[in-house]
Symmetry: C2
Subunit: 213 residues, 2 copies
DNA sequence: GCTTGTGAAAACGTTCACAGCC
DNA sequence: GGCTGTGAACGTTTTCACAAGC
């Protein structure tokens, strides 16, 4: 039930994509699929998919394949996406706003439950149904809602302070868009640095290689 | 000068971070640094840094360390960031707008040279000095400007079509934010899927592990 | 003495290949 | 017969440990 052995983080990060493919299949009315089919639709190899699933259990039937609905449900359970998962977003700039819009569509997944911004001009403003609160209310609101996931979409200067506040409010996983190394014991941090992402692209544009996921 | 041996893509993707650390050091007036110092400031190990640099040459002095300005310059040369690098952005939504603002600050690096959007209501609008063009002009403008890097920040439905148009316009590296697997021979694709990123975070929020870059 | 650059070793992740099971 | 689940082989990336060089 709980994280079995040593599950590689990369494997976990592929699960949401498998889940998306499964839900596409469900919408198409497909009830049974195979690792080969999932491979075609996800871009990963069928062995990879079977290995990734095997870290968590045995969900298929030999000779037959996987039940689409059943596997979706299992993946949701593994990921902790059985109900809507509230996320606290700090920074209501363009990136933050984009994230709110992205997540406001399918409410079965993670959704932005609270937004905070330092700019008092933004406070009180409503974005896709969520009202921007002052950062001073972060700790109280996050604790009250029991939010465990934080997203940092603020400028580099304030990133560390925001991170500390999120951690103190019992957040255990953070998605960080600021170009700053953040870490703390018992807190999982996923960094996405759009600037360095673009910069390394310049290198690949010269040599032009293959795809990287 | 050209990509030496077999340089791992992961190593290349770390270089921009080293570059940023070096430029922070330069701003602080530091002229000489060491792999241990870079390690402390970047979050990667000193051996990792030395290995990464070794793929491209020997830039330090034994017993002494690295010249900050010299190493910065070398990294810029390796990455192809000696001058401003023009990027074509497709999709002028919140995410696209965020990217324009991010890159408009430091113009020594990659910057958005052209923006395209399907929505004719957005065409003609100006974002941080860049005027939104209709997608129909993509091919002509990209070829005219000689842009080699494309960024896809459009909804899933249009991603593939936009990708094909970019490739046909001689773009060789693409940063894709749509949740679609894109690939083509001789074109390097970097996928960033914000939705799956958030979803996998739900898993890590439960188990709460260590940092992952 | 101190720090780089680098082979060798270890850890990690992916692919192979096939036994196990419907 | 067909597809899953998995140990073993492979390739890649990281870490170790030290010789080389200022």
């Amino acid at each position: 039930m709980k994280p079995q052995r040593k599950v590689p983080a990369v494997a976990v990060r592929r699960l949401p994509l498998y889940l998306r493919v499964l839900e596409d299949l469900a919408r198409e009315g497909v009830e049974v699929t195979s690792s080969a089919d999932l491979a075609r639709r996800s871009g990963y190899s069928s062995e990879q998919i079977r290995k990734d699933l095997a870290y968590f259990g045995a969900f298929g039937t030999r000779g037959l394949g996987y039940d689409v609905g059943q596997l979706s449900q299992q993946l949701r359970r593994i990921l902790g996406l059985t109900g809507p998962v509230p996320v606290a977003l700090v920074g209501a700039g363009n990136l933050g706003t984009a994230l709110i819009h992205y997540t406001s569509r399918n409410s079965r997944d993670a959704f932005v439950a609270a937004v905070f911004d330092q700019d008092l001009g933004k406070v009180g403003q409503e974005i896709a149904g969520v009202t921007v609160q002052p950062v001073s209310e972060l700790s109280a609101t996050v604790k009250e809602l029991g939010v465990r996931i934080g997203v940092i979409a603020v400028p580099e200067e304030s990133a560390r302070e925001v991170f500390d506040q999120l951690c103190d409010a019992q957040v255990t996983a953070v998605l960080n868009f600021a170009p700053t190394k953040l870490e703390r014991r018992q807190v999982s941090v996923q960094n996405v640095d759009l600037t360095t992402e673009l910069q390394s692209l310049a290198y690949f544009a010269l040599g032009a290689g293959a795809e990287r996921h």
